[in-house]
């Protein structure tokens, strides 16, 4: 079988595949280190039982759903108080309750959010909510 203009076609194909797979081969072996959200804030260190609103696994996979439920309850229904399954009472507030313990937004929230490729402004919590002051 003869391909007319074969050398041009094959050279073009090779160049195309090379370019199309550029993101893969240029990043081989350069995996970003896994994010390590820091839990060493003074407020957390003082806690006897280091327990968030939900269990760690539930918070990892469902913190966005919890925040969404809190938002709806506070803004639209005027409720402020969340009773956890262990009976503990929390104020439903990102700015005043979550960040009271997690006062290290850049090393807690941003650690994972930037690892998964969300730019700093997404999720856009901090365009309105005021992030806590951080020392460094």
């Amino acid at each position: 079988m003869k391909i007319y203009d074969g050398k041009f076609i094959i050279a073009g194909l090779v160049a195309f595949i090379g370019l199309a797979t550029f993101p893969i081969w240029s990043n081989i072996g350069k995996a970003s280190p896994l994010p390590e959200p820091k839990l060493d804030t003074p407020a957390i260190q003082q806690m006897e039982q280091k327990q968030c609103v939900l269990t760690r696994d539930e918070m990892r996979t469902g913190h966005m759903r919890l925040l969404d439920e809190w938002r709806i309850e506070v803004v639209r229904n005027g409720g402020r108080i969340y009773t956890a399954t262990d009976g503990k009472i929390y104020e439903m507030s990102l700015q005043n309750e979550c960040m009271r313990c997690h006062s290290n937004k850049t090393r807690f929230c941003d650690a994972c959010h930037s690892y998964v490729g969300l730019p700093n402004s997404t999720p856009y919590c901090w365009t309105c909510h005021i992030a806590p002051r951080e020392k460094d």
């Binding site: 803004v75 005027g78 402020r80 856009y124 309105c128």
Partner: protein, 269 residues
């Protein structure tokens, strides 16, 4: 499989019955526990409202007193843009002829027409802003407060066109850069591209406190602003309104404003 018309109807009927029963099972499942989410100390009302006694405001306050405005704007991180076209205001002053255009005879005492009237969102019972909002970001709470869910506001400004009182402001600029007061770190700011207005201090009511403007007015021993439940005949605001003549802004529009102005007879010459 052979399907006769009779068989088809029978299966269809069974399916319809089944779907109808879904609603019943949902209702039974939904009626489980309803957790209490309000604070014990939270203030509640059937309909929040306000009465402003303008004579007390002018005579009891210090000259040019705007403590209520300063308190409100500091408490809610309201920016000071410094430009009338883009200004953000929750509570401000307006002349009589602008605040009450339909109630202007032209023969009022000249001094009266020069005085500042405090104006804010009227938290109307028939709020036109809430009716036109395409995303339902603006809505009426059960206690009569007209609220904006800033998460849902898309900045279309229909509500601003609908509000006959000019009580809504649009953030043309990033507001954070223009906050001149010390930042209240317990309350959020807004972002560029959303509309904002007075929220009757719903965050303070939820914590058992009266609105910031009312508190500031009381601190000045002025007592011009009275806040309370308009549906409760025993409330302070209802008693005050029952004892004094009051007017509302543009009542002819049928929006049923919740802010009343007490006009006491006096010589302003």
């Amino acid at each position: 499989m052979e399907a006769s018309r009779r068989k088809f109807l029978r299966i269809g009927g069974a399916c319809a019955l089944g779907l109808g029963a879904l609603g019943i099972s949902d209702a039974l499942a939904g009626s489980s526990e309803e957790r209490e989410t309000k604070r014990a100390e939270a203030l509640s009302a059937a309909r929040w409202g306000m009465a402003i006694d303008m004579k007390k405001c002018w005579e009891n306050g210090k000259p040019g007193c705007i403590e209520c405005i300063l308190a409100c704007h500091a408490c809610h991180n309201v920016p000071d843009i410094g430009n009338r076209k883009e200004e953000i205001k929750w509570l401000w002053t307006e002349k009589y002829e602008n605040a009450f255009p339909g109630q202007l005879s032209g023969l009022e005492p000249p001094a009266f027409r020069e005085r500042p009237f405090l104006v804010l969102c009227n938290h109307c019972a028939n709020a036109p802003c809430a009716r036109v909002c395409p995303t339902r970001a603006t809505f009426k709470r059960a206690d009569g407060i007209t609220m904006i869910d800033y998460h849902r506001c898309i900045g279309c400004r229909y509500c601003m066109a609908a509000c006959p009182y000019g009580a809504r402001s649009f953030n043309f600029k990033e507001p954070r850069e223009h906050i001149k007061t010390e930042l209240n770190r317990a309350f959020p700011t807004r972002e560029r591209g959303v509309v904002e207005n007075c929220n009757f201090c719903e965050e303070r009511l939820g914590a058992g406190k009266v609105p910031a403007c009312v508190e500031a007015c009381e601190k000045q021993n002025c007592g011009a602003m009275v806040f309370g439940d308009l549906e409760d005949p025993g409330s302070k605001v209802r008693k005050l309104l029952a004892a004094h003549f009051s007017i509302r802004r543009k009542p002819e529009l049928g929006t049923e404003p919740g802010v009343y102005y007490i006009i006491q007879g006096a010589h302003y010459a």
